[in-house]
Symmetry: C2
Subunit: 256 residues, 2 copies
Amino acid sequence: MTRIIAIANQKGGVGKTTTTINLAASLARAGRSVLLIDLDPQGNATMGSGIEKMELECSIYDLLTGQAEFSDVVTYADEAGYEILPANSDLTAAEVALLNADEKELILKKVLEKNKDQFTFILIDCPPSLNMLTVNALVAADSVLIPMQCEYYALEGLTALSETIQAIADRFNPSLEIEGILRTMYDPRNRLTLDVSEQLKEHFGAKVYRTVIPRNIRLAEAPSYGLPVMVYDKASRGALAYIALAGEILRQYAKE
Amino acid sequence: MTRIIAIANQKGGVGKTTTTINLAASLARAGRSVLLIDLDPQGNATMGSGIEKMELECSIYDLLTGQAEFSDVVTYADEAGYEILPANSDLTAAEVALLNADEKELILKKVLEKNKDQFTFILIDCPPSLNMLTVNALVAADSVLIPMQCEYYALEGLTALSETIQAIADRFNPSLEIEGILRTMYDPRNRLTLDVSEQLKEHFGAKVYRTVIPRNIRLAEAPSYGLPVMVYDKASRGALAYIALAGEILRQYAKE
Ligand SMILES: Nc1ncnc2c1ncn2[C@@H]1O[C@H](COP(=O)(O)OP(=O)(O)OP(=O)(O)O)[C@@H](O)[C@H]1O
Ligand SMILES: Nc1ncnc2c1ncn2[C@@H]1O[C@H](COP(=O)(O)OP(=O)(O)OP(=O)(O)O)[C@@H](O)[C@H]1O
Ligand SMILES: [Mg+2]
Ligand SMILES: [Mg+2]
């Protein structure tokens, strides 16, 4: 029973990639079979998983444009512990190519339908945009996990994101739901953080994860080694937080 | 003699908007006539300047698509002290519309040629992408100011950004140069920050501003009041840093 989760937020730098990598690694350590899909032409999730994006023979671009098979593109990120569909700047061409394709919002969904069964979790790292790549992720996904930096611009952008999710649910994907809201780079010493956190809980209630990801320099250092934080520094606050998040998510599924 | 500066970096959340607003306000306080152009459909610079993006009769979208005149769209942000071409989600449609237009990379340049003379500085806030909006900014600009968070993904993305700047200079805008590299959210206690900072200086030399913008919660709070930080809290480290940056930039022009 595969669960496809889009990690999305059009606000930049809120921790989408950091969350996708470290949640994927934590779920893999918990024994689940995980696929990470890098849907960002910047290829951050690819590099942060130890895959050199400049040396890819084929990437998710080739898969989306039908030029390569899933088995050609999927790669095992051995230190991270999950499979990955890697991305590089070729994907920029996809943003334009997709706009002219038939059923352009369903391309990723169709690719995944044929290939998802071997995985328990598929996590999709989205770019900071509500463009056709993110739309494809939201159409293909069962749910969306929203990393949220507890600051003004991110809170303000949540309205547009919620409207987009609703529009996609109405039109393409009626079962799409919010997996959860994850507070990232959380610093409880700030009045602003606490205020925004309060507003999130008022609006999203139990959807806001109890687990928060604290600001921890290890999370910023790990990708420079191409490692998830729990491989780079397993006792760090960042590692413990993402392992706790995986636990919170798995317990939600255990209840169902 | 108008100076048009694009504030660009395809990496999300590195402080583009915060820099555009606070540099614009600092230059205005130094007596210069400043125009801020919000080129991001997320409209952060618009909201952070105290302009309600949901209540705009017309926005930069209408200007770029020829549906409104410059004088209809330009608005004075009174507390901030500069003029602004505001943005809202209509601009998302522009990303697609522009792709089909003639000379699509020159649309903003042509608009500005007719209207720039009244301003000393025009600062353009770009979205976290190297899409057609950012391309328009780079084609229209005299120079690009790159805010840089001293962390791995931002450093890794600098290659793609430099290549894009070079490609645009070669093809459309031979006088395009790098105005400077601004280290943002700077925390000198981190080894990573210092390492990345060193690499920036090795690669970009004197282009790296001496002024760094420290991490300061006032910078994150100010936009929730629709104010630049020096209006919100003029003695804050964030305010002093952006005023110092404006000084460093103005001294460079004084030398020319
Ligand atoms: N909890 C944290 N503590 C410290 N640094 C963090 C934390 N989470 C992420 N970072 C760092 O902050 C920066 C932004 O995070 P990240 O790139 O994951 O965000 P993003 O939402 O994927 O950005 P983009 O919108 O550009 O895709 C990165 O340099 C990352 O290493
Ligand atoms: N020096 C700083 N200290 C503390 N917070 C900051 C600082 N600079 C920016 N911020 C906050 O960090 C977040 C990201 O900054 P900002 O939105 O300006 O980046 P951006 O590059 O414009 O992002 P995007 O790529 O989404 O357009 C915002 O919430 C902002 O208020
Ligand atoms: Mg990312
Ligand atoms: Mg911005």
